[in-house]
Amino acid sequence: MTLTMTSDSSPSEQVILATGGYDHTIKLWQAHTGICQRTAQHTESQVNALDITPDKQHIAAAGYQHIRMYDLASNNPSPVVNYDGLSKNVTSVGFQEEGKWMYTGGEDLSARIWDLRSRALQCQRIFQVSAPVNCVCLHPNQSELVVGDQSGVIHLWDLKTDHNEQLIPEADASIQSIAMDPQGKLMAAVNNKGRCYIWSLSGGESQEPTKPKPSHKIEAHPKFALKCAFSPDSSLLVTTSADQSARIWETKDFTLQTELKQEGQRWVWDAAFSADSQYIVTASSDGVARLWNIEKGTVEREYSGHSKAITSLAFRDQIVNP
């Protein structure tokens, strides 16, 4: 086996793993070897959130007062696009699956839709709430946005009709992260008390707004929870926390399947599943990202190179035909 720095396939045929954090850099990793392939500069700001564009050509980084877009295909360490004109931190970023628009949420009490198309059809939208936005999640049907804020309110914003609804799972517990499973049947939210709330969803198709029905409440962690995400096959849910662990839950009954924990791991900020739901990547405050085998609960690879805490990651894997 040889380890080479060069890659002969284009980014769209690769596994992409990017991490960013408090050291003002974004690192791109060769996921199966743990080698850092590239480092991009994210000057003057930490990286709050990362996401890869649907065409896998760019990566977006949300930071203080701006969202920056970096080219994945070239070695340019500087951003190619800088979205600004915002106040305070941008806390989340994501894309409509055809790359028509980008959504962001920030501490300036709003969630926004950014028009990404070069044609002059302006679909910029803004949705204002009464507390700083911690997280934004796009419904897999691509037409509803779920916004979680610091006062503990979850807003369901129907983009087609501008209709919105609120959910308050627990008063005065800041919503830290919201996730929906790829089939749009389940929604999970974690808060700063370490609790995870699950709703089963109905509607959300043929012009009908999504109706959430409370289904489970789990004491996921003893401390501050930071992130939740469903696996691509919807069978698993991961929650990460300041208790220095990530926990994997079975979605059929929401029982704990595995706890992913390692000595010195510190806060686990972010997590993402592989396409086959067999592996998970976590990012933590010790400056190391880890690839775990979910079934065995073991660390398969470590990605070390950041000099400070890693607070966000973006991961794109794909299913290959055997």
Binding site: Q124, Q142, L159
Partner: protein, 465 residues
């Protein structure tokens, strides 16, 4: 940043540049006393210096307008370009880089979208068609790649990757050319560029070098501990300076000013001594209290042994001394004498605008170390003061007919300084250490010349050494 549109400021800056870059001092004598702009304004009716009035507010004195006098900004590096040029270039680079980035400011949509537009842009996707279970059942690309290299050995130097400073902005970093004699040719002939955080320790730098090596040269076998390797000072052609001990692995990288280093497997008595100490420090810290005392004694002994070596090494680092420069007319000026690996700088302590006469005033000058040929104590006085002399080479002779005929001896000038005896000794020691580190052609020439002179005329005394 400076006011480049201010003509008054510009001419003042140009004048200062002349004064500070002219070693003969003639420029200064001619130009310093007069106020050119005022003169011009009074002698012509034209408004030559529209910035004249504005510049009154700038509150900068004449000397302060020269970038060249802020010589402490770039110590340690060669002073090929002025700070102005470097700054302008940096601004230019940043501008160019920023120009490549497209900036998009948040704007609300000019008009609300119509129903049909809304339906198009925010079209609802039918998830029932999408959810084909067989599509999700395959193997992932990641799993496939992981299978291809199942037992990837953990890189033992992985933890040092975080000391890499190559992508950091606004953090102090150090750039080194590292020669790797342990690699086969031709890789051993070229230095590998390593950028490390200035706050890292030398052992972290060794780890980082090894980490980069294991990635770039996967077939090369390396020992797994950083303590098996040592960093030595090297020339720019890769020749290792064996006269000096390896860099202390516990020292911070930022302390050393070398541009080229060589990574070698540590062997020989000195480096292994160091290693033992190093291990002692690491292993028997607070845990084994009893053996701690013993190792401490060993450590002190070794430290004493190393002290001489270290003073030689530290001679490269910038040091500033407060001394008086002695003028031919028996006058003294207090100056800061800055000594580093690359140059010796003389900076007047105060801007003596009123008091000093121009022939007594010391200009701020800086000599490249390669031009310094000797430095020695001349005399020690009874009041604990001492006088020392620094001899330097000045290339260009002001009059052409002289320069063609005179031997080089005419080009060796000297400065005499007076300082407290301990300070004087320290300066002389540091300059001599620096001179030993670098063998310049000038110095050889000077020594040869002195040799010849002393043969010819025994009583002749040119200067120290």
């Amino acid at each position: 940043m400076a006011f480049y549109d201010n003509k008054h400021w510009l001419i003042s800056h140009i004048r200062n540049s002349f004064v500070s870059s002219d070693d003969t001092g003639m420029c200064e004598m001619v130009m310093q006393g007069e106020n050119l702009s005022k003169k011009l304004i009074s002698s012509t009716k034209f408004d030559c210096y529209p910035g004249e009035d504005d510049s009154e507010d700038d509150d900068m004195d004449a000397m302060g307008q020269s970038f060249d006098i802020q010589s402490d900004l770039d110590f340690g590096g060669h002073r090929a370009r002025s700070n102005t040029a470097a700054r302008l270039e940096k601004m230019d680079r940043e501008k160019k880089r920023a120009a490549k980035t497209k900036h998009i400011k948040w704007e609300s949509a000019p008009a609300a979208l119509s129903k049909s537009e809304m339906a198009e842009v925010f079209q609802e996707k039918d998830l029932k068609i999408e959810s084909k279970p067989e599509l999700k059942a395959g193997k992932s690309l990641l799993a496939q790649q992981l299978e291809k290299c199942p037992n990837l050995p953990q890189n033992p130097f992985q933890m040092f990757a975080k000391c890499d400073g190559s992508a950091h902005v606004g953090v102090k970093v150090k750039k080194y050319g590292i020669f790797l004699p342990l690699l086969p040719a031709p890789d051993c002939n070229y230095p590998m560029t390593v950028i490390v955080l200035a706050a890292a320790k030398v052992q972290d730098l060794i780890g980082l070098i090894l980490y980069k090596c294991t990635i770039q040269h996967p077939n090369q076998k390396f020992k797994s501990g950083v303590e098996s390797y040592a960093l030595h000072i090297a020339e720019d052609d890769g020749e290792i300076d064996w006269d000096f001990p390896c860099l202390d692995p516990r020292e911070t990288v930022g302390k050393f000013g070398f541009k080229f280093l060589a990574l070698v497997e540590s062997k020989g008595s000195l480096s292994s001594h160091l290693q033992e100490e190093f291990k002692d420090v690491v292993d028997c810290g607070p845990v084994h209290g009893t053996s701690g005392n013993k190792s401490k004694a060993q450590l002190q002994e070794a430290e004493l042994r190393m002290k001489d070596h270290m003073t030689a090494m530290e001679a490269s680092l910038y040091q500033s001394y407060q001394v008086h420069v002695l003028h031919p007319l028996r006058a003294k000026t207090e100056i800061h004498l800055g000594v580093s690996r690359d140059k010796v700088e003389i900076d007047p302590v105060t801007q003596q605008k009123v008091s000093a006469k121009f022939w007594v005033r010391q200009r701020a000058v800086s000599y490249d170390t390669d031009c310094i040929v000797a430095c020695d104590l001349l005399e020690t006085k009874s009041n604990n003061r001492a006088v020392f002399r620094m001899v330097y080479y000045r290339s260009s002779s002001p009059s052409p007919e002289l320069s063609s005929a005179t031997p080089h001896s005419m080009n060796f000038k000297h400065h005499d300084f007076e300082a407290a005896e301990s300070v004087a000794r320290a300066v002389v020691q540091q300059i001599n250490h620096v001179l030993e580190l670098r063998t310049s052609a000038r110095r050889k020439e000077y020594l040869a010349l002195k040799e010849r002179r002393s043969h010819r005329r025994k009583s002749f005394h040119l200067g120290p050494r």
